[in-house]
Subunit: 345 residues, 4 copies
Amino acid sequence: MLKACIAGATGYTGLELIRLLLQHPDIEIAHITADANKGKRMSEVCPSMEGIFDRELVELTPDLARDCDVMFLALPHTAAMDKVPAFLEAGCKVVDLSADFRLRDPNVFEEWYKTPHVSPQWIEEAVYGLPELHREKIKIARLVANPGCYPTGAILALAPLMQCGWVDLDSLIADCKSGVSGAGRKLNASTQFCEANEGVSAYGLTTHRHTPEIEQELGALAGRPLRVVFAPHLMPMTRGILSTVYANLSEEVTPDQVQERYREFYRDEPFVRVLPAGKFADTRQVVRSNFCHIGIAHDSRTKRLIVTSAIDNLLKGASSQAVQNCNLMFDFPETRGLESAPVFP
Amino acid sequence: MLKACIAGATGYTGLELIRLLLQHPDIEIAHITADANKGKRMSEVCPSMEGIFDRELVELTPDLARDCDVMFLALPHTAAMDKVPAFLEAGCKVVDLSADFRLRDPNVFEEWYKTPHVSPQWIEEAVYGLPELHREKIKIARLVANPGCYPTGAILALAPLMQCGWVDLDSLIADCKSGVSGAGRKLNASTQFCEANEGVSAYGLTTHRHTPEIEQELGALAGRPLRVVFAPHLMPMTRGILSTVYANLSEEVTPDQVQERYREFYRDEPFVRVLPAGKFADTRQVVRSNFCHIGIAHDSRTKRLIVTSAIDNLLKGASSQAVQNCNLMFDFPETRGLESAPVFP
Amino acid sequence: MLKACIAGATGYTGLELIRLLLQHPDIEIAHITADANKGKRMSEVCPSMEGIFDRELVELTPDLARDCDVMFLALPHTAAMDKVPAFLEAGCKVVDLSADFRLRDPNVFEEWYKTPHVSPQWIEEAVYGLPELHREKIKIARLVANPGCYPTGAILALAPLMQCGWVDLDSLIADCKSGVSGAGRKLNASTQFCEANEGVSAYGLTTHRHTPEIEQELGALAGRPLRVVFAPHLMPMTRGILSTVYANLSEEVTPDQVQERYREFYRDEPFVRVLPAGKFADTRQVVRSNFCHIGIAHDSRTKRLIVTSAIDNLLKGASSQAVQNCNLMFDFPETRGLESAPVFP
Amino acid sequence: MLKACIAGATGYTGLELIRLLLQHPDIEIAHITADANKGKRMSEVCPSMEGIFDRELVELTPDLARDCDVMFLALPHTAAMDKVPAFLEAGCKVVDLSADFRLRDPNVFEEWYKTPHVSPQWIEEAVYGLPELHREKIKIARLVANPGCYPTGAILALAPLMQCGWVDLDSLIADCKSGVSGAGRKLNASTQFCEANEGVSAYGLTTHRHTPEIEQELGALAGRPLRVVFAPHLMPMTRGILSTVYANLSEEVTPDQVQERYREFYRDEPFVRVLPAGKFADTRQVVRSNFCHIGIAHDSRTKRLIVTSAIDNLLKGASSQAVQNCNLMFDFPETRGLESAPVFP
């Protein structure tokens, strides 16, 4: 049995990691950490774990890595980038769910996160953990930077178009709609129930930190730098991200060709489903699973493609993708522990 | 006192018309109709009216127009276009909340609504009831075609850009997010609670009937035909529409210039508010009122404008806009009966 | 024009007071206070007021009372009980929306609020502001203690039974279901969106501070002390309280007699509606209004009455009831400014 | 591998049965039926199953039982009671999720369901499928009547009190709050999103069909007939039932004794958790699992017990309880396929 440590176990992604690893046949949870709640038992902080998993929460220290094979870091951005080297040097592999090692260029990191990177020498070694794009590299990685929730949805929606020459790479727009759990569990005036319920708003226009991540990965696929308009919106719901992406068609292509391109691109992917023509993605059909649905509209009037993708922001957008990466890193079947169907309704 | 008839009084927009007219000092409700509920009293169908307004529901017939000054038609599309001429000929003015008289070209109507227009000779006389664009014509109109909910939000967001030459008129995208009440009160599998709650989906991509309406009005402002990508989405909330519209900047313009352009365009408008720079629209701040909020983001990285607008789909997107039009048609102060502030939370 | 000061203007009940007074023809708002936001303009804190009411927020000081006729105190419990005497002595009347002057016995206050009352000499003069029970006293009061949201709903549901001898006064249970806005606007882990959404929980069982308030008023009606089981529950919705109250029938009485008793008791009440037999209260039918709906079930199998009442917790349960009290205190028609119908959906 | 047929596979409980059996290591799904959708593939009706389980839906006929070991009937009440004998006679065991075989007295069935029972001779053999009460009988049953969702929550909350003599058995009240999925997937005006969202209402007071079921089981435990006030309420949420039950204490008993009584009663139960003293049940902590949480308040002021229980109405209240029963009937470990932790948030 692989031994795992979950750092930040009482946040929403930490809780999902616990739930997923409890049903994983090859991984056991060795430690759970939560600095603010250290010394408490899990069920005191999270009653859903009552009588199911009641380990004591400990503080995150470097020596936890010694008796673990893998560390899942479900911590706020910049909180752990100084600790990752010690974990790796102790022989532990790391799946970091924060943004700290996602951006290949430390200057871009500093520009968007407003703080210098403190372990830039490890960026080189980190692999961006989107299995659909980087499966082979993830298999041999020691440090995987688990993708952001928005980038997962937006990149999967656009990836098949990056190399076929059909769309204007300077026309990409991602209008993304996220459930409130994407904001995490910390106290926040704008995510109080009465402020977030029964309404929709845009936020972070032109400034959201997931922008460079989307651009890095799509640019790498396209073989040249590109810029994406990324517009996040907060939805009155707990989970799910719907990404609606727009691209100008730069040459004649039929709806069938596009549909076929997507089906081919994701043919062997265990967790991506291209919906039948005429169907669009709906977050309700994927939440509480690791699946991603993609639905395509081809607008011949305006010469645009509109691609919709749906994921669970806490799962394929965070915790279950982290387990998928871990499976690859330790040579388990990629779908191990992740086969559960979406839970509807 | 002006005498009004509300046709379709038990649907959501009909109910809002009743509520608004009850607080209008110059209009009294003479008749309310609902063919399926004729003979019932209002409170049997809608308990919120218990002890407040308990008129009997009658059938919609031409002679109702005889003792009314104005008919508000809150009926499904195509349900009343054959009756409108009789109402007008009886000397009654008409505010039609359906789509029947919104499109100036009967061929376009037939193309999108899949049925021929039966009263095409009256289209010419109809005025598109968006006061911010057509105030003077509305004042002298006998027949006002009250705008659709999505078009109201999308057009108000884009109108100030149509004549200034700053944006590429072929680049317009409207990604719109609507509450479920926009689908009306009829039984519908996709708007059952468990199907519409806690999730987001796109629908009607490339085919939604509000598309030609948006294009007609923006094209008229721009002085040339144009096409708009219109992508509606269903939100897990009862009311409100957020429109996020994207336009490519075709020349250098500063954020201040854009902000000033919008402020100037809507300077004298009683119901449109341009938010301070850096603020984006939020439907919670306008619902249950006739107000429209507009917030602008200027993305210099990608040379785009992102404009957000928020309205209440049942009010500024339907019933209160109908009352605003009626005020204009009968020379009442435009804001009469509509001054209520948004209700938050 | 009466001049009013609203203390605590940026909380949910403060915001509703502003909205209501803006549409009140006889009252103008002279001052708004919010210590934490003093110096800011209203629209900075609450965008819904953009271009509608943009007064500057000031600090609450005794001299504000000098140029006001009435103070509405929408502050946390115990925050203003030391200031009330100064306001009254300056000749200002006070409607206090907090619990500070609701309980007639300062020992009971201290027992439930865990702090001594600092102005006990004024309790005697305070009138419990439920117009349906204390209308005549409110008319001549200088200090009105506006009822709690739960007590308003529970008392209105049970009041008609207190003097008729039909029910066992020791059998009363109030199972109450409130929207989240009842918890106010302060930051709170349990009212973050993802913690309060999509679920139901009981809280404060046996300890909720509204218990003695319900017992005081029902006991006064009954003419003897009594105890009530009060069980509050948090609902995943913004507004509304449904109270389901249970009482053992102690003698034979027909459903018609009960229905008639309630109709008679509330016959002249402008804001209480007894629903037809067989109909139960639904918060959706009263929210965003000052109305209370009451629906009665008579269970002959178990010899119980089950009475349901519905109110808007922020309105009849707080702010609009405060305006109703103010109307009485200043001899305006009781319904002035409060006639708006509920807003459905 | 056990072969199962799921009848009514496209309703909410049918969908959950599919999801659960897909992760059950010892059961395979042989047939799925849905008369209205026969001939369609599962993913056409339910996109969440896209690429996961895409069997064709067939019509429910007696011969389906021939190559199955167990039939799960997730059909409307009275829809299958005439077919059950044929299934049993074909050698198939049956778990019936409808109410058809829950009531031991066919007269009581007819009184509450307004139709005669057509297979009364099989009632005797049916076992009420609440494992916490009838485990040994379920193990040897051919026909299990799976409990209703409300009864599961209410009975588990009250069962430990039925034999200890502490409470007045004529004082029981169950105020129950259910998510909308309890109403099933059929079209219904009152469960349209805008009618069910953002509000709370009582329904079915004195008449709800789950009443005799609760009374039958509690009466059997108590050893004498009893009546329960059962008051169901519709919550604006998709899943979960919170039951708040009230009982008069008829003798002196300490909170610790009650707590201990519950812990003892459920000590060996794999799916019932008695929360620590002072904690009350919250549906969010059990949804999407087979767990039941119970929290107890002891009100010495009023001499009442208030017991709260929380379950997922579609799982412990329907489909996962059906699988738990099936495990018992076929001698699998009782928790097989049901170990998943609740999914929070």
